[in-house]
Symmetry: C2
């Protein structure tokens, strides 16, 4: 049976990023760059004032004081027409280009303008060449690499792209991820279950997890524990980039999922991982057939069979399916990254497998602190709403003292 | 001039959460509950098996061993029809209801079925009453409060709501947030700037920040530094819940924003905060007029005038506008919460105001470590793409040693 790390390595080895598409900046938040971005501009594009005040020549200033003739006023969006000579100043606004001859800007608060004489008096405490202005190309030079391939686009990257005029950008497209819950005990969530039945809560939960991971969920409803119905639903699911099933992967008589997946050509990469909850988790890939090669369907598809209990589904999604989605989106760091946190209280861990236990991660002045929440196992989704993370306890029964360091995986 | 904390307190005092709407679970991710959720169901709704195996009576088992007659097989979705008597067992699947008389489930791996005699042999290492089953109502009881008002809906809350059959939920609606950049130096991002002009990158950046904060951005383009044009754009912006302007709030001659806002009835709450970058930031509210009281427009609107330099806009949005959006959405903890991180290297801080400096926050085994990135001030957006956080340096020139503790605000 694979360890979690081995399973993650198999997933990341199997998953190839999706193709690039061209997207407007307004739709690119959270997507990943498919091409390096080279600046086609200097930033700022001209020597620019960082303050409202007066552009001056520092050689005119003695002990921070000077009286200068105001020869022009430049507002933002307009350009200076006069070069400063000795004893001259130009009134300037934030963002406006610096006139020729000037080498500093004095802030308006440190000046007094005399309208009668058309002069300005400076009283500046500290003034050196370059004060309160920004030289052309200081932040970014034409031809310079600004954003690398694989960079996730956050507000600041989008702002930088907009500044450079790159109003469309090559990104990896968002993966479509189908969700299919299996099991004769399931009814749709708006329906009242009979005795022995439960609502299909996994679809709602997994669709939200998919959206939070960056994927586009496609909800396929419930597949009965019956071969032809399951196969039909699976074939619809395989039209998406990823198919996530829940249920039907453990040792029960009606656990048909692995066999049906293999019957339609999905190649098993692994089945069962040394983990609690979620041991029966299944992963496979479907490679395009030769006949498909002339069509658009030439991409590889990925299938996760998650165990049906809600916490097992949730945990296996966060560890495995999310990592695949992130890699499909082009993120280099696709696997979950733990925070090292101190255990807030003594804890008795039990289990023959490494356990990802719902927990609360908080911060105090000494750093992150984690406390496991009361949890009744893989069917107890209620415990997860009290939690914001999962704490990893290694396999084996052991008493952990308060203050011991654990790996913790954030859920929010 | 207000401190950042005072400004935040003014914002949170002024902002009232938006009204509730009823939303399907599929659209509720990231929204906030407007009503407490009381469970209308027990979870699990019946005593349920957590494993595939056999339901048994522990009194029949001696030293983990027994040979029992198999009287029935229950698959998930079906219900037991027979009560176990002494010496009897029922084959059961994960999730199925436990038959009467049974008090534990033995895992299939610890059993051997003999088809000829219709009996099953158990060899279980540890078996106590209650093993591998979950009693009705263990996770959640009918009538119990499960999710409080103000709870943000994550995948697990949505899953819990689905389990209870609450397929629609009362949430605070998503605020609409208009973005209006001001300044004659600005051109749209697809246009090539003339000398002295720059592209309106703030709209793209702020729209992404709004979306990430949970708001719905409404982009209004560029307002010229001219009274009637600005006033017309402002009146459109005031149709949204929040109006975020950039530029036009500092001391320049064409900084018309505060006056125009007050002219249309927006009441100033504060102008200028003791912060770098972003000192000129402006905040005000518009209360509905009496004539509006019969219409839908009876809600308060909120206006932020952010300084025009991109890093000033970005930082003031993260501190102030985002806090207002989060409070509008009903989140109790609306203001940004710092992480306490060790400075990774010696740093010389300069400035007469508390400085929010673009920085990289990373983690090592000892906890969070922060390093300021090279930054040329409020016009240098490029610096922020190398950063994932802002480090707060108190006012005053000072040399900080590596290892000193700083408050750091995450951007991702």
């Amino acid at each position: 049976m694979l360890t979690v790390d081995e399973a993650l390595a198999e997933i990341l080895r199997s998953v190839r990023p999706l193709p690039a598409v061209c997207t407007s900046l307004g739709d690119a938040l959270g997507l990943v760059l498919a091409e390096e971005v080279i600046s086609e501009t200097d930033s700022p594009p001209f020597d620019k004032s960082l303050m409202d005040g007066y552009a001056i020549r520092t050689t005119d200033v003695v002990d921070g004081a000077a009286t200068l003739k105001v020869i022009e006023e430049i507002t933002a969006g307009f350009v200076p027409t006069k070069t400063l000579g000795p004893g001259e100043a130009t009134r300037i606004m934030t963002g406006a280009p610096i006139p020729g001859g000037a080498d500093a800007v004095v802030r308006i608060e440190e000046t007094e303008f005399d309208a009668d004489s058309g002069t300005v008096q400076l009283r500046s405490s500290s003034l050196a060449a370059g004060a309160n202005l920004m030289r052309r190309g200081t932040a970014m030079k034409w031809g310079e690499g600004v954003l690398p391939v694989g960079r996730e686009l956050r507000p600041q990257e989008l702002g930088a792209l907009a500044e450079m005029g790159q109003h469309e950008v090559a990104v990896i497209r968002r993966p479509s991820v189908a969700v299919l819950a299996t099991g004769d005990e399931l009814v749709p969530i708006h329906q009242t279950p009979d005795h022995g039945q439960i609502r299909n809560s996994n679809e709602t939960m997994l669709a939200a997890q998919i959206r939070r991971s960056g994927g586009e969920p496609v909800c396929l409803g419930i597949a009965r524990d019956e071969q032809s119905h399951l196969r039909e639903k699976i074939s619809v699911g395989l039209q998406s980039d990823v198919l996530v099933l829940s249920g039907g992967v453990s040792a029960g008589k009606l656990d048909l999922v692995p066999a049906e997946l293999e019957a339609v050509g999905v190649r098993q990469i692994f089945h069962k991982v040394h983990i609690k909850p979620g041991k029966p988790v299944w992963f496979g890939v479907l490679d395009p057939s030769r006949e498909d090669s002339s069509t658009a369907e030439t991409r590889r598809r990925y299938v996760f069979g998650l165990p049906g209990n809600p916490v097992s589904s949730m945990v296996c999604f966060e560890l495995f399916a999310r990592s695949a989605i992130r890699r499909l989106m082009g993120l280099e760091e696709a696997a979950p990254r733990p925070v090292r946190a101190r255990l807030g209280e003594e804890y008795l861990a039990r289990g023959d497998r490494p356990t990802y236990h719902p927990a609360r991660l908080d911060w105090n002045d000494a750093g992150p602190v984690v406390c496991p929440v009361n949890w009744h196992g893989s069917a107890d989704l209620r415990a997860t709403v009290k939690a914001n993370a999962m704490a990893l306890f290694p396999a084996g029964d052991a008493k952990y003292a308060a203050g011991e360091i654990l790996d913790v995986y954030r859920w929010d």
